[in-house]
Amino acid sequence: MSRTSTILALVLLLGVSLPARAEIDLSGSWASINHEDAMERGAGPNPADWAGLPFNEYGRAKALSFSQSIISMPERTCWFQTQWHIAAGPFSLRMWAVPDPVTGRVQAWVVGAWETRAPMIIWMDGRPRPSKNAPHDQTGFTTGRWNGNELVATTTHLKTGYMRRNGAASSDQATITTHFRRHGNVLTVTMFMVDPVYLTEPYIITRSYNLSTNPVSIGGPPCIVGDEGVESGRVPHHLPGKNPYVGEMTKRYGIPLDAVMGGAETMYPEYRDRLKDQFKHPSSKCALNCGG
């Protein structure tokens, strides 16, 4: 009994004398700041532009076979946006904590849904990850942990989805790690895509958000499948060597084909040495998707 009381006292003392595990409040509406990759996240990237994407040859081949018309297939309309759409899309985030009804502790953090991206439910209660053979979907399964004031979320059990919205795909073996860091009213989200099927290195994207008093939708609107009259059994695609958009970046921006085909080397400064003699600066002024 003496030992029990000592242990109990220790537990009580630690409970009252040490600071609570560091956590920062991430709840609220976070307005997306689309100042980087503005076109890629908004209207969408140029077709056949995969510069800066650490593809392997399978990833590149899959992207080259992609036709945007594929989303006219009812079974494909809503398929492409996994949790990576936080990085690839333009949308703001709504975040909130879900308390355990009995203990009051945070059971999960939720990043609300947007269109075809399902909510990211970040389980904080230590529940085990499902078997690798459990069903995969666009939502995936996400667990989280705090590193001081940084929330780190790990997502697995995803279906194939977009890494970039022009056919660069992630596989169902991909793992997404998302780091949420708040500084005052700015939230910086760093996302890592690790995909042993289509990537040679992690694909890293950082995004920023401003805390907003304008409420961001917590769950929608949903993606709705419609019949666009696509002939049953027809799968829009491009055969090898037949993608008509391959030369578009070179024509429009003077960027060599080698660069827009992606690969890890295109992410690093040394690659500019290879580009220098091939790049032709366009003499014309920007006339399409120029911003401002």
Partner: protein
């Protein structure tokens, strides 16, 4: 054991432990070097660093690729919330003129230098000054901690930067360096003449994130406020992988056209 005995024992153990914690508090507060009975000098910003930013870092260009890796097209200012006056300047940009200009470093100022593909070398110049150098454009930024006062002088490309630590401790690696920069000379946010004015101010957060393989990634959130040329604060974030040494450090002068 009676309830009374139990409460007495609990109180005794609690008091002992509280005393022990209180006794160790000064040492904990002083951090490294806090052991021993001698009075400790206040910790320097270098000693208090909650995160190690020093070393060589290489930029990873996965965002805004065509604005960073090559010379962007004239009039392409996608994503930058420019004022009409700024658009006019960007529209008048002429690469042929820039190529002959005496100042080739307009796109290497503090608001844009971390968007230039290249390497960073971060070192402590002294206990209160962190130094960031770039090989691309050979720029140097100094981050001053504490009660540093900027010397009087003209506006410069890198401006005057004051720094402070935020967060960290308790075994977490969430600390960040907050840097505020003023006294800037006007320059370009992008090499195709997208301008910021001398009224621009900069706020940055430098933090190290652990990658899935355990290696560090430097992430810098850069907020540029410019009442003259920006309709709203321009916020971007750049990321860098750590390198083991300076083997790939390759100093190169500024270039306005590459």
């Amino acid at each position: 054991m009676t309830t009374r005995t139990f409460i007495t024992r609990m109180a005794t153990v609690s008091l002992c432990l509280a005393g022990a914690l209180l006794a160790s508090a000064p040492a904990l507060a002083q951090g490294r070097g806090g052991r021993g009975g001698a009075p400790q000098a206040p910790q320097t910003p270098r000693g208090a660093a909650p995160v190690d930013l020093t070393g060589y870092w290489v930029s990873v260009v996965t965002e805004d690729w065509r604005y960073r890796m090559v010379l962007p097209m004239k009039g392409d200012y996608q994503g930058v919330p420019l004022t009409p006056a700024a658009r006019k300047i960007a529209d008048a940009w002429d690469p042929a003129v820039e190529a002959k200009a005496a100042d080739q470093c307009k796109a290497y100022g503090a608001p844009s230098i971390l968007r230039v593909p290249g390497r960073l070398r971060i070192t402590w110049q002294d206990d209160t000054t962190l130094k960031l150098e770039t090989d691309a454009g050979q720029q140097t930024r100094l981050f001053h901690f504490g009660a540093w006062t900027a010397p009087a002088g003209p506006r410069t490309l890198q401006g005057n930067s004051v720094a402070e630590w935020e967060g960290g401790g308790r075994g977490a690696t969430d600390g960040a360096l907050k840097v505020t920069t003023t006294n800037l000379k006007g320059g370009y946010l992008r090499k195709n003449g997208v301008p910021y004015s001398q009224n621009a101010t900069l706020q940055e957060y430098y933090e190290v994130i652990t990658q899935p393989d355990g290696s560090p990634l430097l992430v810098v959130t850069i907020s540029t406020t410019d009442p003259e040329y920006l309709r709203q604060t321009f916020v971007i974030s750049s990321h860098f992988k750590k390198e083991p040494d300076g083997a790939k450090w390759k100093p190169a002068p500024c270039s306005a056209t590459w």
